[in-house]
């Protein structure tokens, strides 16, 4: 899969509808390409762990292909609950990316997949070199956070 096409183009009709899709309305392929040249592509096998709870890494992962699950381990350390399912066209790891705190959940691949990883240092470089691109990306990521927060809050109320 071409990461630029996944994020720059509308998803195919048969793809699951994601309310937290990462969208930058004003961007074309060229803008996504200028961001993604700072990232590193990685393939994952089914069941492979992408993020371990407690890890201090603060990279942002763009999901290019595949399905991922986000799970939280309870205090007893024995049981785990899936809190989100994530697939192509959005991001994983945005909380630690922004606040630098350790990862709060585990993320693993349900199927084989591919991600593009943007280290925080690479984002800082982008922000220095191309402030408008960094601003657009940050705004889009903040909207993803906002949507996930609203969705989570609604689920908690129910």
């Amino acid at each position: 899969m071409d990461p630029i096409a996944v994020f720059a183009e509308s998803p195919p009709p048969e793809a699951p509808v994601r309310i937290d899709r990462l969208v930058v309305p004003t961007w074309q392929h060229a803008e996504w390409g200028r961001v993604f040249r700072h990232g590193v592509r990685r393939s994952l096998s089914a069941h492979e762990v992408l993020i371990q709870s407690g890890a201090t890494d603060r990279s942002l992962h763009f999901v290019v292909d595949g399905n991922f699950e986000v799970g939280i381990t309870y205090v007893d350390g024995m049981s785990m609950s899936t809190v989100a399912q994530i697939n192509a066209g959005t991001v994983i790891g945005e909380q630690s990316f922004f606040d630098g705190h350790p990862r709060s959940a585990n993320v693993w691949a349900v199927s084989s997949g591919e991600i593009l990883t943007l280290p925080f240092a690479a984002f800082e470089t982008l922000a220095m070199e191309e402030p408008p691109l960094a601003r657009d990306l940050t705004f889009a990521l903040a909207r993803v956070l906002s949507l996930r927060l609203r969705n989570t809050t609604v689920r908690v109320r129910r």
Binding site: I72, Y74, V75, S79, S81, V83, E94, Q95, S96, F98, D99, H101, S104, A105, A127, P131, P132, A134, R135, T138, F139, L141, A142, R143, L145, S146, R148, L149, R150, T152, T153, R155, V156
Partner: protein, 157 residues
């Protein structure tokens, strides 16, 4: 426009800088933000915004206390905010309906940061708006962590 963040002795933006949202801004950038804030006064019990309304601004508490609660349930507060706190921040990102009601607990002065002014800043001041967005995202990330942990606790119980 708002000038109540200036002290009587003249001119200080430090009260604005103590807000986490504006913590990374330079003096010039703080002056720009100050220029787009608007002061609003509320009486005790007055509704600042209501649950279900379209959100169009972020509010910063300058003086007084503000209650966040579900509509018609001020006796079961979600949060009580004092000077230096801000609320309604999701309205800077979209205009989705407010998830709760905000009302003045006592005489309040708030600074209003309209989403439309923020959009203008996004277009004209990329570095400044990116600094605010980063702080806003950190704040939302903390809230999301709290919400997810609350959810897991609730499910666990």
């Amino acid at each position: 426009m708002l000038d109540f963040f200036r002290s009587a002795s003249g001119g200080h933006l430090e009260q604005l800088r103590v807000l986490s949202l504006f913590a990374d801004l330079s003096r010039r950038e703080l002056q720009i933000v100050q220029g787009v804030l608007h002061a609003r006064d509320y009486l005790p019990g007055e509704v600042i915004f209501d649950e279900g309304e379209e959100g169009y601004a972020l509010y910063i508490v300058r003086t007084g206390r503000v209650l966040i609660c579900r509509q018609g349930r001020p006796d079961s507060p979600i949060a009580e905010l004092g000077a230096g706190s801000f609320f309604g921040e999701l309205a800077l990102l979209d205009s989705a309906p407010r998830a709760a009601q905000a009302r003045a607990l006592e005489p309040c002065t708030v600074a209003v940061f309209f989403g439309s002014d923020f959009i203008s800043l996004l277009e004209t001041e990329a570095k400044l708006s990116n600094k605010i967005l980063l702080q806003l995202s950190r704040h939302l990330g903390r809230r999301l962590r709290g919400a997810v942990l609350g959810q897991s606790t609730e499910q666990h119980l």
